[in-house]
Every structure is written in structure tokens, then in C-alpha cells.
């Protein structure tokens, strides 16, 4: 383990131990926060009982669908903006102010459009994530060194081959960042949507447990969710580090 990794681990471990001691010593009201060991036990029980498997799969399915659509749609939009500078100039102010608009206000519209099912939540996750992917794609294409485009021509590559074999690998670091953001935003969009607007899914079950003062379930679900998202992020982080190191970017 690297020194930075060890420090990271130490900070998290100390925070958990301090919280455990504070809860056990009665410094924190158990109605507010239960000890981390209680959270872990709650999470384990949830996994073993399989009570929430359907909700977990529902949420992960919606996140995956939203992320996939956002990656494909964002890439397409970013590429169009790159190829059509006039369109880009026209959309620039909208893109700049996009994240100032609370996406959830569109939920009633999505219900009208898609009905009372998972699709409005997928749409919210998608809307949350798509522009991050588009902006990163656009930046990536813009940052491809012109000499690589000239090299593609010098090597007599067709336009599609040049795109796939040179341009896309050249802007891969930006696409990678876009994908990372898409995953994070899709989770936020879908789960936050479930909190308020859904009858199923992890977000809904956390809200339901909260309303019923069922702290072991609430914290158990939260712990499962945090573990999953952190694990996924760590995986992406490791992959990204390896990817950047290879290109001499770290």
C-alpha cells in the first residue's frame, strides 16, 4: 500500500472508531446515528435476508440504463458540438447554465411523457449526467493535437478509421473523466429521484426506513450503497491511474 493510500485508510479507520466510541459512550443519540458496527450488522442482515435484493437490482438497473444512455447521448452531442461550431456557439450559454437548473422540476413532465414507472427516474439520471459527458467529449476532441490529425492523413486513414484509431484514443482521458462523472451523476439522479418520487428502489427504501425510525435498515442500506459506489469509484480510480501512468500523465 502506498503512503497516500495508508493515510487515506488511517483517516477512514480513525473516523469509524471515533464514531463507534461516541455512539457506544452515549455521546450521540442512537435515534440519530447508530454505531458503525450496528450499521455493518444491519447491512449484513439485509444482504443475507434478500429482502431488498429486488430494490437494489431495480436501482442499479435504472442507474446503468441512465448512465449508458448518457454516455452514448453525451458522446454524440459532444461530437456534434465539435463538428458544428455554429451549433456550439448557439448552445454555449445553455450548456454553461445547465447545472443551475434543478433537474427534478421536470419530473411531472417525465411522468406525463413516460408514465408512472422507472423511466422518469432514468430520465432524471440521464439528464443529470448527459451534459457532463457531452462537455468532456467536446473538450477531448478539441484537445487532440493537430499533428495527430495530420498524421492520420499522412497514413492515408479513412475518416472513420482515423476517428476510431487515432482521435478517440487521443481524447480517451477526457472521455474517461466523462464516464466517471456520468456514473456519479446517474447514481445521484436516480437515487435522489427515488427518495422523493418512487415507490421502489434503494432511495425509496432508505426514505421509508427513515420515516419509520428503522435506523438499522436505513444505515444498512446507506452503508451498502456507499460501499458499492466507493468500490466502483476505487476501481475506476485504479484503472485511471494505470491509464494515465502509461501515457506519462502522472
Amino acid at each position: 500500500m502506498s503512503r497516500a493510500g495508508f493515510i487515506r485508510f488511517l483517516v477512514v479507520a480513525v473516523a469509524i472508531v471515533v464514531l463507534e466510541i461516541a455512539c457506544r459512550a452515549g455521546l450521540i443519540d442512537p435515534i440519530t446515528i447508530i454505531p458503525p458496527s450496528g450499521m455493518a450488522a444491519g447491512a449484513w442482515k439485509l444482504i443475507v435476508s434478500g429482502r431488498y435484493t429486488e430494490d437494489i437490482l431495480l436501482t442499479l438497473g435504472s442507474v446503468a440504463l441512465a448512465a449508458m444512455l448518457a454516455i452514448v447521448g453525451g458522446f454524440g452531442l459532444g461530437y456534434c458540438l465539435f463538428r458544428l461550431p455554429r451549433l456550439r456557439r448557439a448552445l454555449d450559454p445553455l450548456l454553461a447554465s445547465y447545472y443551475a437548473v434543478p433537474t427534478f422540476i421536470f419530473y411531472p413532465l417525465f411522468i406525463v411523457l413516460f408514465g408512472l414507472n422507472r423511466l422518469p427516474l432514468v430520465a432524471i439520471g440521464f439528464m443529470f449526467a448527459v451534459i457532463a459527458m457531452a462537455i468532456n467529449t467536446l473538450t477531448g476532441f478539441e484537445r487532440v493535437p493537430p499533428v495527430l490529425r495530420r498524421t492520420a492523413r499522412a497514413l492515408r486513414l479513412s475518416a472513420p478509421t482515423a476517428l476510431v484509431q487515432i482521435t478517440m484514443p487521443a481524447c480517451a482521458p477526457y472521455l474517461f473523466t466523462g464516464v466517471k462523472l456520468v456514473i456519479a451523476y446517474s447514481f445521484i439522479g436516480v437515487i435522489a429521484g427515488e427518495f422523493v418520487l418512487s415507490g421502489a428502489g434503494i432511495g425509496h427504501q432508505i426514505a421509508f426506513a427513515y420515516n419509520n425510525f428503522d435506523n438499522p435498515t436505513m444505515y444498512g442500506l446507506m452503508l451498502l450503497l456507499i460501499s458499492f459506489v466507493s468500490g466502483l469509484n476505487m476501481l475506476l480510480f485504479v484503472w485511471e491511474r494505470r491509464f494515465y501512468r502509461r501515457r506519462g500523465l502522472t
Partner: protein, 279 residues
């Protein structure tokens, strides 16, 4: 393998390049009219002041930029809008692919050309060894020095066995010692492959050392105002710089170029001694 210097390998006839007006900027007459014959198997360099259209000359010869007037031919076929088979280009900037290993970089063009894997392996191994990169096959470009990355770009071009090699200031980013050594490498490649070489450079000593002939270009719009024959033996290297004739060739080039360089500085608004010209 060696080719005798002979008939015309590539030619430019009345080639002119005018870049059209863009928004508030007027059209730019960058080049020409230029007439030039590159002899088969010769080493030809082009020198000229900054912004005189040297790289544009290379671009039109390669088919990377369309001409505004005139014709370009390579092996008696017109060059129009695309790089003909048989022409290899090395640019000034690092054009190695950072996501591929040295070996895969070198193999890139051959693999796209659907050459059999055994031929790819044979040619890439040979070229990397020839370029002194055999020990770095599995390294990534980020792990190489600037000179080695440029050698890699040359290797990637050489594996396609170009008959005309166009080099656009390939050593521009390297220090003087490395440039001299790279010059030796280039001469070795030239003798070994028998290719015709066109080198664009701003370094007079580099042009004088490497070339059979050196074309001197005027300030913009670039015209070929003189072609200097060096008369060096084919089997030469960087030690030639210590010969008295080398000084004569360099002096001859500078005598022709000095006035053009001053004109170019005036065009860019910078006067003698780096002071701003007040009109």
C-alpha cells in the same frame, strides 16, 4: 540498398497557395508560384525565413493542402487532396501515439494496410533495431526522450518503405548535439533506403550538412530564389561540418537568406535587434 540520384521523382509546376480570407483577416498569399523538381534519390532541403511557406510547400507536395494554382506530381501522377502511396511524412511535433507501445506505434501503419503479421513483425523489428529502439519495444512514448520519440516517428514512417520522405523540421525541438547525431541517422537512412528526401528546416548548418541541394526561399509569399548544390559525397556524416567547404556553403546560404529574413521580420513587425518597427 542504394539509388543513384537521377530523373525527376516529384515536381511542382507554378504552385501557388493562397489561404482564403477568414472573418476579419484578408487572404494570405503564402506560397508561389514555385517550380521545383526533386531528383530521384536526392537529399533536398528547403530553408527560408519564418513564415515564408516552407511547411506549406511540404503540405502541397504531400497532398495535405490543396494548391490554389499549379500542379503537383509524384512519380508522374498528379497529387490531389490525398497523400499518395509511397510518400512518408514526419512532422516537427511529437506525433507518437501515447496509448501504444513503441512496437505498436511502429507497426501502426502496416497493420492498417492489412499487411500479414509475419511481414509486420519482420519490418518493425528490423526498423526499430535500425533506429536504435529495439531495446524499448515494450516502452510507451512517455518513457522515451524527445529525440527517441522523434526516432520512433521516423521509424513508423520508414516501416511503410516510403520512396519519398518528407520531413518538416523533425529535429526542431532537439538540442544541437542531438540534432547533429540525428542528422547522421538520417543520412544513414537515406543511404540505406535510397529514398528521395525533402527536409524542411530553419537551420542552415543542418541543411548544408545533410543535403545534395538546398533550396532557399524568399520571405512571404515564398518563392524559391536560389538552389545551392553542395556537391558532398553520398557517404558523408556530421564530421563534414569541420571542412572549410562547409563554411562556404553555409555562408552562401546565409548571404542569400539574410535579406529575406530581414524582410520577414519587417512583415511580422519586429525590427533589427528585436525592437518594434514603427511605420
Amino acid at each position: 540498398m542504394s539509388a543513384a540520384t537521377g530523373g525527376s521523382h516529384a515536381s511542382l509546376r507554378g504552385v501557388t497557395k493562397v489561404y482564403p480570407a477568414v472573418e476579419n483577416h484578408p487572404p494570405v498569399h503564402a506560397l508561389g508560384p514555385v517550380d521545383l523538381d526533386l531528383r530521384l534519390g536526392e537529399f533536398f532541403s528547403v530553408v527560408g525565413p519564418s513564415g515564408c511557406g516552407k511547411s506549406t510547400l511540404l503540405d502541397v507536395l504531400a497532398g495535405l493542402t490543396p494548391v490554389s494554382a499549379g500542379t503537383v506530381a509524384f512519380e508522374e501522377c498528379a497529387v490531389v487532396d490525398e497523400v499518395p502511396e509511397g510518400i512518408g511524412i514526419v512532422f516537427q511535433e511529437d506525433a507518437s501515439f501515447p496509448w501504444l507501445t513503441v512496437w505498436d506505434n511502429a507497426a501502426f501503419a502496416l497493420r492498417r494496410a492489412a499487411v500479414s503479421e509475419s511481414v509486420v513483425r519482420e519490418r518493425v523489428d528490423y526498423t526499430l533495431s535500425f533506429m536504435g529502439l529495439a531495446g524499448f519495444s515494450s516502452a510507451y512514448p512517455a518513457q522515451l526522450s524527445g529525440g527517441m520519440r522523434q526516432r520512433l516517428c521516423i521509424a513508423r514512417t520508414l516501416v511503410t518503405r516510403p520512396r519519398l520522405l518528407l520531413l518538416d523540421e523533425p529535429f526542431g525541438a532537439l538540442d544541437q548535439q542531438t540534432r547533429l547525431l540525428m542528422g547522421d541517422e538520417l543520412l544513414r537512412i537515406w543511404r540505406e533506403t535510397g529514398a528521395t528526401i525533402l527536409l524542411i528546416t530553419h537551420a542552415l548548418d543542418e541543411a548544408a550538412m545533410l543535403s545534395d541541394r538546398v533550396g532557399v526561399m524568399s520571405a512571404r509569399p515564398g518563392l524559391l530564389i536560389e538552389i545551392v548544390e553542395t556537391r558532398w559525397p553520398r557517404d558523408r556524416d556530421s564530421t563534414i561540418v569541420s571542412r572549410p567547404e562547409f563554411g562556404e556553403v553555409t555562408g552562401q546560404l546565409w548571404a542569400r537568406l539574410r535579406g529575406e529574413s530581414l524582410k520577414a521580420l519587417e512583415l511580422t513587425g519586429v525590427g533589427r535587434g528585436g525592437t518594434e518597427i514603427v511605420r
